[in-house]
């Protein structure tokens, strides 16, 4: 068997490990959500697990860890913009428009 084929087999096995990790962490997210913890804790835990799962997808399935520097820089800038957008809205001063009400 050529070394190329062996490398591909190794890569294939790595994808299966990532798949197993993603399934396990999906089950974990749902299990934790059923525990009656404070909302703030639930949000932090759920998002932390989602970020971990997302980083597995990006790193391995999208082979981001082997990408060229230009892609790493591009996505770093995107990440900064993304976080900036969410955090500026979260920490910024805003108010509910006059007359708006919550409809359950």
């Amino acid at each position: 068997m050529s070394s190329d084929m062996q490398d591909l087999k190794k890569e294939g096995r790595a994808y299966l490990f990532v798949f197993a990790a993603l399934i396990i962490f999906t089950i974990l997210t749902v299990t934790i959500s059923k525990l009656h913890v404070a909302l703030a804790v639930a949000i932090i835990v759920a998002l932390a697990i989602a970020i971990f799962k997302g980083s597995l997808v990006v790193s391995f399935f999208m082979h981001f860890i082997h990408e060229k520097k230009i892609i790493l820089w591009l996505m770093f800038c995107v990440f900064l913009f993304f976080m900036g957008m969410i955090l500026s809205l979260y920490f910024g001063e805003y108010s509910i428009p006059h007359g708006a009400k919550y409809v359950p």
Binding site: M5, L8, E11, G12, Y15, L16, V18, F19, L22, I23, T26, I27, T29, V30, S33, L39, A42, I43, A46, L47, I49, A50, K53, G54, V57, V58, F61, M62, K68, I70, I71, L74, M75, C77, V78, F81, F82, M85, I86, L89, Y90, Y94, S95, I96, K101, Y102, V103, P104
Partner: protein, 196 residues
């Protein structure tokens, strides 16, 4: 005249054209979904009350769809791996499975939507449902886009394997990057909309 760098990478960036193109496209997609996630934060923080996702949506169904999309990401990456191993038959099988799983996701989603409409729960009903339908609807459109692209590569587009295999492998890699992004978005949508 052939366009340069459609197969071989450029000397300056180290990337072939489509690779740089898809990452730029995905960057814009991050900002698109980012804007809607920000809207979710603003609506949720600004609301007097916010329903728990599980009180309106079915968590087992959402979890099933999460597993379906994660599995489709694996079959997609295996389709690319099969081509690199020069196993065209396996490539076709993996890509067909990816499309089948994507269709499964959409069928389940349509049943979910149908159940909500039957209970008179529409986007206009509440801020939660408005952002739920917007985010999942936009995501479903992306799934449909992925099905169209992958179906093209499974049937008419696969002829390129005979004429220009290296370029075809690159095309599947690009389609895969898009598909994994669709999976990535759902990984965040599921806890945000169903579990919190």
């Amino acid at each position: 005249m052939d366009m340069p760098y459609i197969v071989k990478p450029r000397e300056d960036t180290g990337l072939f054209n489509a690779k740089l193109g898809i990452w730029l496209f995905l960057s814009s997609e991050v900002m698109l979904f980012g804007a809607l996630f920000s809207s979710y934060v603003v609506l949720r923080v600004g609301s007097v009350g916010w329903p728990h996702g599980a009180s309106i949506l079915s968590v087992p169904i959402g979890m099933f769809n999460t597993v379906v999309l994660i599995t489709s990401s694996v079959t997609m990456v295996y389709a690319w791996l099969s081509l690199r191993a020069k196993k065209f038959g396996q490539f076709k099988m993996h890509l067909a499975f990816t499309i089948l799983l994507a269709l499964t996701f959409l069928v389940v989603k349509s049943f979910e939507y149908g159940a909500k409409f039957e209970h008179h729960l529409f986007p206009k009903t509440s801020a939660y449902l408005a952002i739920y339908f917007t985010l999942t609807g936009l995501h479903a459109i992306h799934v449909i886009g992925g099905i169209i692209v992958n179906s093209y590569f499974l049937f008419p587009g696969s002829k390129m394997w005979q004429t220009d295999p290296e370029r075809f492998i690159n095309r599947i890699e690009i389609a895969g990057l898009y598909w994994h992004f669709v999976d990535l978005v759902w990984i965040f949508l599921f806890p945000v909309l169903y579990l919190l």
